[in-house]
């Protein structure tokens, strides 16, 4: 028992290390989060920079002092010959020393008006209150991105489950492990745990990133759904690999595994009430994620048992 536990821990550690040493694996685990988050941040930066360079048309009649006031309010004065015509031609605001012309009804026009009125010591000025963006507004988008990434990671899980067995069978690694004085289910279970741990960890990183950027309704539940999907997908890969190696018969099990994984995800979409209970199917449904997580443990145990039975028949 002690040797079995030690072997399981050692094999899991080594398998995780092997996976992390593959550049393609590292890139595929980081890429979805990095690219999506990077795109989002870049969009915000571009948006912010565009906002900062808003210009206001001013005629020569506008004094240097008033132009300074406009600048101080965060706008860039640009000379125009006729303020009214400038606004008609598309400039959002222009000043001729007497009138503020604008086609904008939003807070920036009020901000400009307030700055001008204050400088001219007018008896009153508007004070627009701009509502702060709420994370709750962005949370559904964050959740949608996380669900898509979970689906992608689930497909990785199928590939990991299949590939770790097929490749190790081809190069004799699996035979060497199975000849160790440990139960036959251990190498299969180690592969399931290693793949699930790795995928779930990187998925948790994705969830944390989007929870920080956009907010998520329930980040922990989202992480549980993703972990359940990764585990179930790896179990599918382990089960469907059969006697295939990378050099032969790989395409059939690969197609079967992908079909099963995507089929379960689709089931969750079409029957959310059922899907919320099943790993993989729960990716696009709600729920706290505990039932799918328990389901994936059962799937992992079943896959390890099937692996052991099949190993004895080879």
């Amino acid at each position: 028992m002690r040797r079995t536990a030690r072997a399981l821990v050692e094999l899991v550690a080594v398998l995780v290390r092997r996976l992390l040493r593959e550049g393609m694996v590292r890139r595929s685990l980081l890429w979805p989060t990095a690219l999506t988050a990077g795109t989002l941040v870049a969009t915000l930066i571009v948006f912010a920079s565009l906002q900062a360079t808003e210009t206001v048309g001013v005629t020569r009649a506008v004094s240097a002092e008033l132009r300074g006031v406009i600048e101080a309010a965060g706008f860039e004065p640009v000379f125009v010959s006729d303020a009214r015509e400038a606004v008609r031609n598309g400039t959002w605001a222009a000043v001729d020393g007497q009138v503020l012309w604008t086609n904008d009804r939003g807070p920036r026009a009020l901000q400009l008006e307030a700055a001008l009125r204050e400088a001219l010591e007018a008896p009153w000025r508007p004070d627009p209150v701009v509502p702060l963006p709420q994370t709750a507004d962005a949370a559904p988008s964050g959740a949608a991105v996380c669900r898509l990434v979970a689906s992608l990671f689930a497909l990785y899980g199928v590939v990991f489950g299949l590939g770790m067995v097929a490749r190790d069978r081809d190069d004799g690694t699996l035979a060497a492990e199975l000849a160790l004085p440990i139960p036959r289910w251990v190498p299969g279970a180690a592969r399931w745990i290693a793949s699930t741990l790795l995928l779930s960890s990187f998925y948790a990183l994705c969830v944390a990133t989007f929870a920080a950027i956009m907010g998520l309704p329930d980040a922990a539940a989202m992480a549980r759904h993703g972990a359940a999907a990764c585990g179930a997908a790896t179990a599918i890969g382990l089960v469907v690999v059969g006697r295939a190696g990378l050099k032969q018969s790989f395409a059939g099990p690969f197609a079967t595994g992908m079909g099963m994984a995507t089929g379960l995800i689709a089931l969750g979409n079409t029957h959310p009430a059922v899907g919320s209970w099943l790993p993989l199917a729960s990716v696009f449904t709600g729920g706290d994620g505990w039932a799918p997580l328990a389901g994936t443990l059962v799937a992992g145990a079943l896959a390890s048992a099937i692996f052991a039975v099949r190993a004895a028949r080879e």
């Binding site: 080594v14 040493r21 004799g172 035979a175 060497a176 000849a179 160790l180 004895a312 028949r313």
Partner: protein
């Protein structure tokens, strides 16, 4: 040490019912003896070694290693054997040191890290102990595989085509290591289809063809049984090749 009696293994074959890979095979190997299992491709050598290593289950027959039955105590047998698959079985992304240490730890060897380094040193592999296995030559890999196999001081070794893909110096070194292990009292079963190396290293020979043991004995006995002057001719005569 190793006793095989009436071993049979059949595989399902698409459209042909079953294929008998091992057909009523019996032989024994004593401590300190190198037993050469010879045969053409598909003769059943690898299947036999996999059954001995408890990687595959036979349809009938018995196997005993160090007095333990394969049927009742497969884990006990795996504690006492070292199986070296023809492919080697070295993960490409792990270094030689990591591989040998992993097996030493799982086998429950005392001071596994020191034992692993000592074996790599003994096999002449310490110089590239931190090189990923995927970057090693075939000869380097064979030394690492043998270090891994010996990490728990097994009573018996099952070597499947141990010199496959090696150049002449590499083959010489591996065969010398095999003889060394036999001299330490280990029972060794070595499968091969290269007659020259078998002549140099084995004590007894078993020639397999189509799953059956067609001849067994020392080199002179096999030559006499085949009526041949050299092992190549004897092999061809015994396996029924023209």
């Amino acid at each position: 040490m190793i006793v095989v009696r009436d071993l049979v293994k059949r595989f399902p074959a698409s459209g042909r019912g079953t294929v008998t890979a091992v057909d009523h095979l019996s032989f024994s190997v004593h401590p300190g003896e190198v037993y050469g299992l010879l045969g053409p491709n598909g003769a059943g050598k690898t299947t036999t070694l996999r059954i001995l290593a408890t990687l595959a289950d036979p349809d009938s027959g018995t196997v005993e290693v160090a007095g333990l039955s394969r049927t009742t105590d497969p884990v006990g047998i795996r504690e006492r054997i070292a199986y070296v698959p023809a492919e080697g079985g070295l993960p490409q992304r792990l270094t030689a040191r990591e591989v040998v240490r992993l097996f030493a730890r799982i086998q429950g060897v005392e001071e596994p890290d020191a034992r692993a380094d000592a074996l790599l040193d003994r096999m002449g592999a310490l110089g590239y102990a931190d090189t990923p296995c995927g970057d090693m030559s075939t000869g380097m890999k064979r030394r690492v595989v043998l270090a891994r196999a010996l990490v728990h001081s097994p009573a018996a070794m099952l070597l499947d085509e141990p010199t496959d893909g090696l150049d002449v110096p590499g083959r010489r070194d591996v065969l010398a290591l095999v003889r060394e292990q036999a001299a330490e009292g280990r029972a060794i079963v070595l499968s091969s289809h290269i007659m020259g190396e078998v002549e140099r290293v084995v004590d007894r020979i078993g020639v397999m063809a189509r799953g059956r043991l067609v001849c067994e004995g020392t080199l002179p006995e096999v030559l006499a049984a085949a009526g041949a002057d050299d092992l190549d001719a004897a092999f061809l005569a015994l396996v029924g090749e023209p």
